[in-house]
Symmetry: C2
Subunit: 139 residues, 2 copies
DNA sequence: TATTGTTATACTCTATAACTATA
DNA sequence: TATAGTTATAGAGTATAACAATA
């Protein structure tokens, strides 16, 4: 029996490799896909809140948002109620990119899991979701 | 439904965090545990072969083996049949460390999976193993 | 000529400390 | 005084290029 920790790391890398080319065609990378998804689903939000959600420092979030803003996928608006903070939101181009990226990711994930039966694949997802729910978000 | 790629990355990090303290008590880190496991199970082996197995460059392997050798956990012997290469092998201290580390890892993994039922946990491992077997090693 | 291990070096990713503007 | 965002900088981890010893 191979170590669970190895298998998880390996599988995570496997799925990421399967997804990357599709995301690249959509014009973003995995990290940006994560941020864009979060901004679209739970925004408008501050950089610090986003940083907390994905578990990176707020200083790391700066360059990440810089890149997304330069591609016109997110917009920085000042929060009127606290002019130190931004309210980040997805642009319409950002939402369009997100739709394309999501399709690419779904396809990549399917390919990566191709050697599993439908039942195995579903059970895998269920177990991972159970574990994620048992953890506080952003960890 | 959260994205599978996110869940995998998150869970991998979760398990790694659960394991790290135990490994640290044994005197090694996750990467070293991987190399030591491989040397013990499939050695004696060359640095380049090991590098290929865990998917890093041979230049990266140098410092990794340096650290393990400095702790007297592995030994570099010249390969008599090819004096450019080493035959790396675990020392008895290395095997002892490995036994301790393995216990710590098993405990950490159990803790990380504590919120799953025994069935879920077993199915998770099975699915991950199926995926790993479908992939060439060292990827 | 090719290959193993090695070093120097550069690149990426990340966080810590210190700054600014606001609160 | 404290906080959001920013910058400079330093540390980890990694790979590429070039070298010595050996094949």
């Amino acid at each position: 029996m191979e170590r669970l920790s190895f298998l998880l790391k390996q599988t995570s890398a496997l799925v990421e490799r399967a997804i990357e080319p599709g995301l690249a065609r959509a014009g973003i990378n995995g990290r940006e896909f994560g941020v864009l998804t979060l901004v679209d689903a739970e925004g408008p939000a501050s950089q610090q809140w986003l940083a907390g959600r994905i578990g990176v420092d707020r200083t790391t979030m700066v360059a990440l948002i810089d890149a997304l803003e330069e591609k016109r996928l997110v917009r920085r608006r000042r929060d009127p109620s606290d002019r130190r903070a931004y309210l980040l939101e997805a642009t319409s181009a950002g939402r369009k990119t997100l739709r394309n990226a999501r399709k690419a990711v779904e396809l990549g994930e399917q390919q990566a899991l191709a050697s599993l039966t439908a039942t195995e694949s579903a059970t895998l997802k269920q177990a991972l979701q159970r574990l994620a729910q048992a953890q506080p978000p952003g960890t």
